[in-house]
């Protein structure tokens, strides 16, 4: 070490110049740093850009025909009425919330259970096969799920429960659960796999049974990742459009039971935006729904972040 220092101090002027020369590796390093920085910062630019665009399109409505009490308090969504157009999204919120809620009720235990099996119990070929199949399931396009809802679930629900329409909350909730479960399973499994084996061994050495190891040590240790998986599922539920459009029945309705047809916020935007005049109240109202969806996802993510940080502080 001292030898190196001494030889540097005694370096000839030409050797010093060499140390000061910027070579190819130096430039490549700087370029790669810039590219990585740009990729990282682009996420922020995109999200801000989307927010500005959506807000700009919806802002005219918020300043004009928008009435807070009507918008959030009225179940009457009649933007095309000739004389008295009303813009109440309560029924749409109820539609999205009920479908997402039911989907999560089914998908959370299902996917956490599947993740526990794949991560903790399955071995060898079973494990590999399951992982591949779960990932395949996540890759099925949402319109295919919508097709299954229409042609398979619809008659099945009519027959099983003796109801007039099979396109309802139950149908959409099950379809959405099936869509969200694979990705939730995958993320939850990663979270469980990230728990170091020495934690498991330490608990086993204390005489914990397999279930005790999982419930007392592995699940608590992986709770942040599991929460992330659940929130990803909730986000998927709020954002899903096509399958929900096809499976819910698409009728504006405050539901009384899971056999009622509803309409979701996203499906409303998807089905109506193409029919509106750009810049009209209706058009801008749809963008206001977009702002609302944006804010909901923002709040969900913020809550998740706060919860995760709160847990970490203990």
């Amino acid at each position: 070490m001292t030898g190196t220092v001494r030889s540097l101090a005694a370096a000839t002027p030409s050797a010093r110049k060499q140390l000061d020369q910027l070579d190819r590796a130096w430039y490549i390093d700087k370029i790669v740093q810039f590219i990585v920085f740009a990729s990282g910062i682009s996420a922020i630019i995109f999200i801000v850009g989307i927010f500005i665009f959506v807000t700009k399109e919806g802002f005219g409505f918020i300043l004009g025909a928008f009435d807070f009490a009507e918008f959030f308090g009225s179940p009457r969504w009649k933007p095309t009425s000739e004389y008295n157009p009303t813009y109440g999204i309560l029924a749409l919120i109820a539609g999205t919330a009920s479908v997402t809620g039911l989907a999560m009720l089914i998908a959370i235990p299902f996917s956490i259970g599947a993740a526990i099996y794949v991560a903790e119990f399955a071995t060898g070929k079973t494990r590999e096969a399951l992982k591949v199949l779960v990932e395949l399931l996540a890759a099925i396009p949402s319109v295919v799920w919508g097709f299954i809802a229409l042609s398979l679930m619809n008659p099945l629900i009519i027959e099983l429960f003796d109801v007039p329409v099979g396109l309802n909350i139950l149908n959409a909730g099950i379809i959405l659960a099936l869509m969200a479960a694979p990705i939730m399973t995958s993320i939850a499994e990663d979270a469980l796999k990230a728990v170091p084996d020495r934690y498991r061994e330490a608990a086993e050495a204390l005489g914990a049974t397999r279930w005790q190891v999982i419930s007392k040590v592995v699940l608590p240790a992986a709770k942040n990742g599991l929460l992330g998986a659940v929130l990803l599922g909730v986000g998927r539920g709020f954002g899903e459009t096509m399958a929900v459009l096809m499976a819910t029945g698409h009728s504006i309705n405050l539901p009384d039971s899971i056999f009622d047809s509803v309409r979701a916020l996203t499906a409303t935007i998807a089905s109506e935006l193409g029919e509106t005049v750009v810049g009209s109240d209706h058009y801008q109202a749809l963008f206001t729904i977009g702002i609302f969806l944006f804010l909901i996802t923002f709040v969900i993510n913020l809550c998740a972040d706060l919860v995760v940080r709160g847990i970490g502080k203990v």
Binding site: R198, E201, L206, G207, A221, V314
Partner: protein, 275 residues
């Protein structure tokens, strides 16, 4: 390494029978012809050992000599490791542990301390209260008492008594290792197995833990696996020297360290000429 195990090694003789302990302590562990292999590759061959109650039994030897495998077999950790095969007999208080159906009950009687400290990602209190809770104790007063007693015995109480609710995994390495010991003690084990506990611990903490072990010896049997021959010398009454998956020699610590050994490799190892 593998060939050395499978071929007939010139030194592969039956190890000298352990000298019986002069005291009248009953046999805690009787290991008979124990062999362990992983996927058919032997890790431990034909070990015969008797460990008496209330002694500290040291196991020394270079890496890959099968020391940790022996501990794993004693704790029935082979159960979840499909690659690991155990043959031979291990009698714990006279019962063959391979025949115990409830391995969890067996493990509750054996405390284990691993080479690297394992502070579970829960509070200091919960770390120590885990084992009692697993066995169904939920009485707050009883848990409080156990936590305080175990932390005191592990010489950690004074340092953590004001922050029992902070995360156990945030303690320093030496503190986490004492936390691991406290956790192992919380189930009142009859047998405490320490696997190179001082690897990630500073010398001062190591000395404190060693003092703790000398105290604990009165209540339980301790198996001390260590790379530090001097540590074995300080603590153990008897020592087994393991190498290449065989038990080369068993003897009284004092006589072994005063040169009274039968095998050249033992002498070389104890003298620090290899290892």
């Amino acid at each position: 390494m593998v060939e050395a195990l499978t071929q007939n090694h010139p030194y592969d003789t039956v190890p000298k029978q352990a000298p019986t302990k002069p005291s009248s302590s009953p046999v805690k562990l009787d290991i008979r012809n124990l062999s362990i292999s992983y996927n058919g590759i032997p890790a431990l061959v034909g070990v015969n050992l008797k460990i008496y109650e209330n002694e500290i039994f040291g196991i020394i030897g270079p890496a890959n000599s099968g020391k940790t495998s022996l501990l794993k077999a004693l704790n029935r950790m082979d159960m979840f490791d499909s690659a690991m095969t155990v043959s031979g007999e291990i009698l714990f208080d006279g019962y063959n542990i391979q025949r115990w159906r409830n391995v969890y009950a067996l493990r509750r009687r054996i405390g284990v301390v691993f080479p690297l400290p394992v502070g579970l990602p829960m509070t200091v209190y919960d770390n120590v209260a885990l084992a009692p809770r697993l066995s169904g104790i939920n009485n707050k007063a009883e848990l409080d008492e156990t936590v305080e007693r175990c932390l005191k015995r592990a010489a950690l109480w004074d340092e953590v008594k004001d922050r029992l609710q902070s995360l156990g995994s945030l303690l320093s390495g030496g503190q986490q290792q004492r936390l691991t010991i406290a956790r192992a003690l919380s189930q009142n084990p009859d047998l405490l197995m320490l696997d190179e506990f001082s690897i990630a611990v500073d010398p001062v903490t190591t000395m404190r833990i060693e003092d703790v072990l000398k105290e604990l010896k009165r209540e339980m049997t301790i198996i001390l696996v260590t790379n530090l021959t001097q540590q074995a010398h300080r603590l153990a009454e008897r020592i087994a020297f393991f190498m290449n998956g065989t038990c080369i020699e068993i003897g009284d610590t004092e006589s072994m360290f005063s040169g009274n050994v039968t095998d050249n490799r033992t002498a070389d190892y104890i003298a620090g000429r290899f290892g």
